[in-house]
Symmetry: C2
Subunit: 288 residues, 2 copies
């Protein structure tokens, strides 16, 4: 079971990520099919040799052909899909996902899933500010991180299979984290940064300043263009972790604000020195 | 007076910005001299044809040769220099600066300056996370904004002269703002963004997350490597404006936080939609 060779792979949800999985896998010679809600996505994917076949309405006949399934859906829709259609899945197979939050989804899926099928959760940390299979890119994952988040329910064989998938997609690094470690990490590195970017972008109508905008403002707001449906769902499903991370940031931002208000020069310099010191660790990796 | 041709130009303070002014002006055939505190900076600049001559101790004999003077000093040192050495400046000349905050410095300099010399304030919005004349670059200003901030004390001729300097240095755009407009703009676009980056970098020891760091965290903390002496001085000299901008951001960040805490999906989506909408204005300029 720990090899994907000669396996037929089904992608459920042919958006940017699902489409990029399909595209990369097809390029490497895998037989890839898709289930997705829009027929236009299937037409596009067939025309561009991203998939061999696709359907919009899940059917047993179609789905039971596949030996490995990747769910690239919004979290809630993923759960609904399993509830409604899991009886169509071939017995004994492994399924995986691409969901950006883990604790809230992983245990739920593992609980409701048929016991003859194993779910190994994973998160490809890659994305674009564009959507849909039309923007899919077989090279999207080169240089990115792939996180596998097994639970005590998972077998070493399924973890190996997920790792194999990460290797085929050419991720730069593949790591194992618990669902909880993953969610803390993603709450800080990704969700908090999006909250900051969105708040900076919306705290005042800065349009009249556009001619004066330099790199710092552009860098900080690049991710302020945001899919409100996906991110609201992800934030809510990681609510407690994200609130903790937001509160850490708030506390520190207020500390700097109060040091400025009190003209506490030493405190301000101390914060800036720590900032410079800590940023250096991330520099080293920048030259990777 | 509205032409720099055949004028000898003195740079006071040969750091990254002063050095880049000197380098660009020398490349265009101007006679450039420097006064700066370290003899090593002068040696470097002479060796690399960035200046024709330089001294570390201001003298009348040296300084009165120059027809135009650019002050590239920290704000407080700029005021001290004028207080201590302005008697050495040639009568009738125009001087300018590169200071990153305006209200606190412009009126002070114009008040204490000899009446036979005119100070036209300007701010080249360019920089690097490196320092010193050794890192100077004659192309530093290409693509950047140059802001002239005249007061009612200034003559149109001096404004023209500053504009001419901006053209020689090949800034992408040259604008006129009041010192107050400048400080509000810089408080929001530059100082607030640095406060955010520093707070994100220092709110927790994130070193253990370095392997998972993607573009969003790197983008938001690139400017967290910060010269604590310069930025503390700039923040304090723009204290009221910066506090206003920080409070705007704080209010909005808390609003998003509270919407998440209350699971107010509609509010969260509304903020994200506004964010996406507003970010678009800045996109257009990105392709310039």
């Amino acid at each position: 079971m720990n090899n994907l060779q000669n396996k037929k792979i089904l992608i459920v949800g042919l958006g940017l990520i699902g489409g990029s999985y399909a595209s990369a896998l097809s390029n490497k010679g895998y037989y890839v099919g898709a289930v997705t809600k829009d027929s236009s996505s299937i037409e596009y994917a067939l025309k561009h040799n991203i998939i061999k076949e696709g359907i919009t309405n899940p059917s047993k006949e179609f789905i039971e052909k596949y030996d490995f399934v990747v769910f690239a859906l919004y979290p809630k829709i993923f759960v609904e899909w399993i509830e409604n259609y899991q009886q169509y899945l071939k017995s004994g197979i492994v399924i995986t996902d691409v969901t950006g939050i883990k604790s809230e989804i992983v245990y739920k899926i593992q609980t409701i899933l048929r016991k003859d099928i194993e779910f190994i959760p994973a998160h490809p940390m890659a994305g674009r500010e564009v959507y849909g299979v039309e923007n899919s890119d077989p090279n999207l994952f080169k240089g990115a991180n792939y996180i596998i988040t097994p639970t005590s329910e998972n077998t070493p064989e399924a973890v190996d299979l997920a790792r194999k998938l990460g290797e085929i997609l050419e991720f730069k690094s593949i790591s194992i984290l618990t669902p909880e470690e993953h969610d803390e990490m993603i709450g800080f590195l990704s969700q908090l940064t999006h909250c900051i970017a969105v708040s900076l972008m919306t705290c005042k109508d800065s349009r009249y300043l556009v001619d004066y905008t330099g790199d710092s403002f552009r860098d900080l707001t690049r991710i302020a263009k945001i899919n409100e449906f996906m991110w609201t769902e992800l934030f809510l499903m990681n609510k407690n972790q994200l609130l903790s991370q937001m509160d850490l940031f708030l506390k520190q931002f207020k500390e700097l604000r109060d040091a400025l208000a009190k003209e506490d020069e030493e405190k301000m310099k101390e914060i800036m020195r720590l900032s410079t010191e800590r940023r250096k660790y991330f520099d080293k990796k920048e030259s990777d």
